[in-house]
């Protein structure tokens, strides 16, 4: 597998140049490291901008779309993020596999909940803490690694 795109909320956790949710930061860092074991490239916008500490001098949506275009699959934590919803629209339009990481106690719009009806992928549910989803994410990454790279791992 060449590249994994991680889509997750961004703005809601940034205050000035501070990242205000340490648990979520830890989770995304663990997820990033995990993905790096399965793909040679991992894109996480939070990492690009050092979790708010280094905002981009100039930003264009096309930068994120270009990253999405060259990705093999997306792992998305949609939460209530409009930005992640747009990225899920891109990924599904390009027919890229979408791994949805959903909170059991949250309600999602049908177009997100059922995104795998228009593009391949899997849904992983967690309860309360995002990091509880990591073991299931590993299983799904194993599956896609085998599917995309054959037995060369």
């Amino acid at each position: 597998m060449n590249k994994i795109f991680i889509a997750c909320p961004f703005i809601k956790f940034i205050n000035g140049t501070d990242f205000i949710n340490n648990d979520f930061r830890q989770f995304t860092e663990e997820l990033y490291d995990l993905c790096a074991k399965y793909a040679s490239k991992v894109f996480l916008a939070l990492k690009r901008e050092d979790y708010g500490a280094k905002p981009l001098q100039s930003y264009s949506c096309s930068m994120d779309l270009d990253e999405a275009k060259s990705a093999d699959l997306v792992i998305a934590i949609p939460d209530d993020s409009m930005g992640v919803a747009v990225e899920l629209g891109w990924m599904s339009a390009m027919q890229k596999p979408v791994i949805l990481v959903l909170n059991k106690n949250q309600t999602y719009t049908s177009l997100i909940y059922n995104i795998n009806k228009i593009t391949p992928g899997k849904v992983i549910f967690y309860e309360n803490e995002e990091k509880k989803s990591l073991p299931d994410i590993i299983k799904v990454l194993e599956y896609y690694k085998k599917l995309m790279d054959g037995d060369e791992k």
Partner: protein
Amino acid sequence: MNKIFIACPISKYIDGDKFINNDFKIFIEELYNVCQKHASEVFLALRREEYGKKLMKDTCAELDFEEMKTTDLVVAIPEDSKGTAVELGWASCMKIKILLLLDSNQRYTPLISGLKDITDVETIWYDGNLNRDVLTNIDNMIKRKSKE
């Protein structure tokens, strides 16, 4: 123009099988009529689902996606709707023209307000109220887009 797709919030305005925001319903119906003047086909999921009476939660993703593929122009009122955001993702990825209606009192993610970097986007700003002036602006804008 062949087809216009109207993308707007649905679930936040539905309680059971009732549509709970009559002002929004009136505006959307008028918007539908404006769009009909410019395109032979207009898609509005709210109409298909009879404003909540016939919700199609299990099948709407595939159905909406198929509708988008044959669309020439999307008129979108994102508000805080994640469904509309997914549709804007589809439209921008497919390089479909977008007419974006944004509330000047609301803050939008750059992935919505900056979609012009990806596809042809015209933005109409409104000040909290979706009223007749907004409809007139939309009418004029679609007229202009039809000629391009």
